[in-house]
């Protein structure tokens, strides 16, 4: 392989990794919505921010790495959404129940 080809291979390789990282970051940003929801519904914003940041970093890393790691990301996120949303829903449902009880009384 001559110098031009070697330089071109390394340029193409950098472009490939950078392109994957950009695409991974863009897709991982979809998690901003559930993280914001958790921030709004949870009383400990610092913990939510720390966990949300770690989740974003892990998801970006796995999406960038690809293959089996990428395939596992969205099922993992879907599985994690249930425990994330349950307290928020319970709190919301509890508030509604209190309002109904107030009306009955």
């Amino acid at each position: 392989m001559n110098t031009l080809d070697a330089r071109l291979v390394s340029r193409a390789h950098r472009a490939y990794e950078l392109g994957r990282l950009t695409a991974a970051t863009r897709r991982a940003l979809l998690l901003a919505l559930p993280i914001s929801l958790a921030l709004a519904g949870c009383g400990a914003p610092q913990e939510v921010l720390a966990c949300g940041g770690a989740l974003l970093a892990a998801v970006t890393l796995f999406l960038w790495r690809g293959q089996e790691y990428e395939a596992g990301v969205w099922p993992g996120v879907a599985a994690g959404l249930a425990p994330l949303l349950l307290p928020v829903l319970a709190r919301f449902a509890g508030q509604n129940q209190m309002t109904v009880m107030d009306r009955i009384e």
Binding site: V9, A12, H13, A15, Y16, G19, A23, G66, Q67
Partner: protein, 180 residues
Amino acid sequence: MEHGFDPDLQSLLTRLAAGDRSAFHPAFSALWPILRRFTARHLPPTEAEDAAQETLVKIFRQAAGFDPSRSAIAWVLGVAGFEIRTARRRRLRRREASGEVAGLESRRDPARSPEEDVLARDLEATLGEAIGTLRPEDVETLRLYARGERPRIAAATFRKRVERALVRLRTAWRTTDEHP
């Protein structure tokens, strides 16, 4: 699903999109000659090499987003086509900016071999044939453009006319080229 004439390239780009790094070097080796040939067919040698490199880098940058249900070769040539158009526009702007007037004769390489002379004559004959199929207004526009002259109209209007005439010339060229 049928993906065109290069199933190998299809599977390599699909693997790259999935993050399989082991497909990088085979994909590079498959793409580079295709892109060099394609750009060399549509651009002068000095610009063709740069355009091929830019296309290659762009393809690898966008490889993560490649949709395996699409034809790989069509996607690759689409990116190359965009790069060729960009290179042509850049050249057009450079020529406009410098006011360069260069006839075909002045571009002639004095060190050309007899074989290259024959090829050049063939090329000029095919070009003449293609020009012959154009409308007189397009021929006039191209003639003025080649001489570096401009009728009394706005530069942007003239440029638009030149672009349209060149598009028609390219279409006629392809037809002439395919059916000699």
